[in-house]
């Protein structure tokens, strides 16, 4: 194992620090660690714009249920029609969940393939505690969040014993185990492939029924706002700075005296808590828990969203999540488009799969702009 040539490599043989991949060819010439948020020097008008723009956007989004305009080809019906609002609400919820995944991947550099586990835990624990355990809604939400966070603590404590690619594999295995449990439907609790519907009597009438789509839309919007603010507070805190240090160079952060294990565990638990919150809202907005939430495919699509939008940026993760969900729902129409009719059947069949288009697009983005997928701000 040890050979006289070990000094040739950057690290002692056999030791592969988790942060290595993200910093890649980081040389000693660059400033050691960039902490926290982009320190924009903008003061005065620029700063005002940075605060005002999201607020205006939020106001516009909140007003959408009063807009009765048809947007043919863009949305299924009127903007404030139930179909459109449900689609927009789903996009926002997934955007919020993508935002929570970015705490792990973009902020701390943890390549977790198990985020679906915590989102699904939030979703299933809510539906199960409402119907099987007959808890009132506030208690059920608290139970779902509390148990999911506990699960994140246990899984994180085990999985973080390894770093880098091994961590990715271990989280994947845990998520897969959960997926198996949900599919096996132990005691009829999870509903197997059918999923578990939301107990309509246990939630307020405002969240049930086609006519109340605006309220579910506003709930989804609220989730995005809460997650957004939580992530903003987190990355500006001391812990957030430590997370950034771990992402940029874990060994260096350890040498500087950060307890990197604890920092990573904190990031995982915080991200999972927000993910579970997203799962809870997901269940409320979509009226139940779907086993698709537990699959590794869901985590992979979260990864795709965050990378496409721009890892380590709140706007990026949110927009990535929203646009991905929108594309996934609307790309089916592409296969019916007139300009495709002349193509051979096989090509049309392949193009009719939104995931094929998104997957191929993702490969192209990573391939042609590899540095865009990991944030380098040196």
């Amino acid at each position: 194992m040890t050979s006289p040539t070990d000094h040739v490599t950057d690290h002692p043989a056999g030791v592969r620090p988790a942060g290595e991949d993200l910093v890649g060819d980081d040389t000693t010439g660059t400033p050691p660690v960039t902490l926290g948020e982009p320190t924009s020097p903008a003061r005065g008008p620029g700063r005002l714009l940075r605060i005002l723009a999201p607020l205006v956007g939020l106001a516009v989004l909140a007003y959408l249920p009063y807009v009765a305009v048809e947007l043919p080809g863009v949305l299924p019906d009127r903007v404030n029609g139930p179909g459109s609002l449900q689609l927009l609400a789903t996009c926002l919820v997934v955007g919020g969940i993508a935002l929570s995944y970015d705490v792990l991947f973009g902020r701390t550099g943890l390549l977790s393939f198990g985020h679906a586990l915590f989102v699904a835990a939030g979703s299933y624990l809510l539906t199960v505690s409402l119907s099987t355990w007959a808890l009132p809604l506030p208690v059920a939400v608290l139970a779902a969040l509390g148990l999911s966070t506990l699960l994140a603590l246990v899984v994180g404590a085990v999985a973080l014993r390894v770093g880098g690619i091994a961590f990715a594999m271990v989280t994947l295995a845990f998520a897969q185990a959960a997926s198996i449990i949900v599919m096996r439907n132990p005691g009829g609790v999870t509903g197997g492939e059918e999923g578990r519907p939301l107990d309509r009597d246990a939630v307020p009438d405002l969240l049930v029924g086609v006519a109340n789509a605006p309220y579910r839309y506003w709930l989804a919007l609220a989730l995005v706002v809460v997650t957004w603010v939580a992530v903003a507070v987190l990355v500006r805190s001391r812990a957030g700075h430590a997370m950034a240090a771990v992402r940029e160079n874990e060994q260096r952060a350890a040498v500087l005296g950060f307890g990197t294990y604890r920092v990573k565990l904190l990031a995982l638990v915080a991200g999972s808590f927000l993910g579970a919150l997203g799962g809870v809202v997901h269940a409320l907005v979509l009226g139940g828990s779907n086993p698709h939430l537990t699959t590794s495919e869901f985590t992979l699509s979260l990864l795709v969203m965050v990378v496409l939008g721009g890892a380590g940026s709140r706007w990026g993760a949110l927009l990535g999540g929203v646009l991905y969900t929108y594309a996934d729902a609307r790309l089916v129409e592409v296969s019916n488009a007139a300009f495709l009719q002349g193509l051979p059947d096989v090509v049309r069949q392949v193009l009719s799969q939104p995931l094929f288009i998104l997957g191929a697009f993702f490969v192209a983005v990573v391939y042609f702009a590899p540095s865009s997928t990991s944030r380098r701000r040196a």
């Binding site: 991949d21 690619i165 845990f174 185990a177 995931l355 094929f356 191929a360 990573v366 590899p370």
Partner: protein
């Protein structure tokens, strides 16, 4: 007693499939540090290649012959796909490990979606030779014949790969590369060419696993590769990434644990106990996962 014999043989058969799928993954990881999510797509490609070939050959031929040709075609397709993926997508991203993983993730999503678009998401039945569904009486148990085939193929693959690693110059370069890639490069050996070979080898093994797994499941479906891949990942982690012997031992252990727990506890417990086994290995020997010694 006969139950136990049956479970051990079926567990070994399952472990053999895991080993075939995991061997390429382990080599690729050990040498190149690439966690290849596209391996699931390779497995699916192999399964469909074998299925399509069997359908295209004249129906008058005996099923065994068609199956053999199908498996051969699958292995070739897997090798070509692996080679193309390495040359076109992985090589330009050399030194970007995370990006390599991301590319294979995108590839796995797109591959499954493409198969779904062309052949539909429903499982399609696969023809099997009559004797493969039959049983052999041994030690008082009726043992399914197909498991012996899997164990035999996995054994041949294991010995073949070991021979390749230890008796040929290529194997020497691979083993040296796993241990210290920088040093091998410094000695003036083109490791990149070896990467392509290892990827083609991994693709071929994955396709072989896919073709055999479709016999095991009796059908081909787009999601098959992904489900086998998860266990292959677990096997690779438990076996110590990059070590072929470790992978073989882990594959057998995982297969046996899964079968025994599924029978003696309850259905589904076996799948979970595999994950518990993984957690246990991580807690007790976390260092075994960090590096690899081939």
């Amino acid at each position: 007693m006969s139950d136990l014999v049956l479970l051990i043989v079926t567990g070994l058969g399952l472990g053999a499939l895991y080993f075939i799928a995991a061997s390429g993954l382990s080599l690729i990881y050990g040498l190149m540090g690439v966690l290849n999510f596209a391996h699931g797509a390779f497995i699916t490609a192999g399964a469909y290649a074998a299925w399509l070939t069997m359908g295209a050959l004249p129906a008058g031929w005996p099923v065994v012959l068609r199956l053999l040709v199908g498996v051969l075609v699958a292995v070739c397709v897997g090798a070509v796909v692996g080679r193309v993926v390495e040359v076109v997508l992985i090589r330009p991203l050399y030194r970007h490990h995370i990006q390599q993983v991301l590319v294979t993730v995108g590839l796995s999503l797109a591959g499954v979606a493409a198969a779904q678009g062309i052949w539909g998401s429903d499982p399609r039945a696969v023809e099997s030779p009559a004797w493969i569904g039959g049983t052999t009486d041994m030690l008082g148990a009726r043992l399914p014949d197909d498991r012996f085939v899997y164990v035999l193929v996995a054994g041949v693959l294991f010995v073949g790969l070991l021979a390749l690693l230890h008796l040929t110059r290529l194997g020497l370069v691979i083993r040296a590369g796993v241990e210290n890639r920088t040093m091998v490069e410094a000695l003036g050996i083109d490791v990149h060419r070896t990467f392509t070979v290892v990827f083609a080898l991994g693709g071929a093994a994955a396709a072989l696993a896919g073709a055999l797994y479709s016999q095991y499941a009796g059908a081909v479906s787009p999601a098959q590769g992904g489900s086998l891949l998860i266990y292959a990942f677990i096997v690779v982690v438990i076996g110590g990434m990059g070590s072929l012997t470790g992978t073989a031992v882990a594959a057998v252990a995982v297969g046996l644990v899964q079968q025994l727990a599924n029978y003696y506890a309850a259905t589904g417990v076996g799948d979970l106990s595999v994950v518990l086994l993984l957690a246990l290995v991580l807690l007790l020997r976390p260092t075994s996962l960090k590096g690899a010694t081939a």
